[in-house]
């Protein structure tokens, strides 16, 4: 039952990513050229509504449906890992034009080449796991 729920929610997410064109390489290229408001509008409105929603849920002390606290783990403090990690991520985002959510969506569309991107992303994650202790965090 739960599996079906997550499968359904995931399907909705995939449709949002595809239909809003956030999964399009062209839209990412356009965004980094500041040539359209589209991607900024998507992220900006998502953040504003998300912020209002999260602050409201926190204020009202709303619990998750199973009675547990909401999963809002604060991020660890620090600068280097977020800045360096962020820049590395951005280089890849600008090149492949896909971030981890849309990657799966594009795989479902049937772009065989996107599996090379996913393979790269798995390898990159693995490489991080190997080098983690040597990196500044």
């Amino acid at each position: 039952m739960k599996t079906l729920l997550y499968l359904f929610l995931g399907t909705i997410f995939g449709i949002i990513m595809y239909k809003s064109e956030a999964a399009s390489w062209f839209r990412i290229y356009e965004m980094f050229n500041f040539a359209s408001f589209h991607m900024y509008g998507i992220m900006g409105s998502a953040v504003v509504i998300g912020m209002i929603g999260v602050q409201f849920l926190k204020k009202k002390n709303v619990k998750a449906i199973d009675g547990s606290e909401l999963s809002l783990k604060p991020k660890e403090k620090g600068i280097s890992r977020y800045l360096f990690g962020g820049i590395i991520f951005g280089l890849g985002w600008g090149l492949a034009g896909a971030c981890p959510g849309p990657m799966y969506t594009l795989a479902g569309v049937g772009y065989v080449s996107i599996f090379i991107v996913i393979l790269g992303a798995i390898l990159g994650t693995f490489l991080y796991g190997l080098l983690r202790k040597k990196l500044p965090h």
């Binding site: 783990k73 820049i87 985002w93 991107v117 798995i122």
Partner: protein, 183 residues
Amino acid sequence: MNWILEPWPWYIGGPAIAIFMLLLLIIGKQFGMSSNLRSLCSIGGGGKVADFFNFDWKSQRWNLTLMIGAAIGGFISANYLSDNIVQINESLIPQLKEYGINSAGKAYLPPEIFALENLDLKNVILLLGGGLLVGFGARYAGGCTSGHGISGLSNLQLPSLIAIVGFFIGGLIMVHLLYPFIF
């Protein structure tokens, strides 16, 4: 029925993502897509080589299911809900042509990079390298566009703001400084 094939404007897509994230919160989960890559490493036996992959990936099964759903959503959209053409700002078309990409305004992804028949060594390196940077960077930063960009910023997390600034520094360096050497 033409309207059903139209792309969604930002003011539909953005709020839909926010509602999706809030819905996940209420059912007790945190929106973050790149965590799945770590789970996949763990399933593949990564725990034998690095402690980082020694964790209970089964607790992440819900997210892996979501990931499969995201692929199904892509299939449904491309086949039934879209004409699979993305219109971008026309002023970018000449620049893209210089890079050998002539498909702007005619496709969803540029076939020059993503079509199977154009899969030469250069494109393999480009796709693999792009993925590698995304995977490495997302884990190093502790999240991607969803975990930092949406979940983190909505929860007013300063680290997420730093990560987003990083995403943009990286993206701008790639598109403005490195593209002329790559394409």
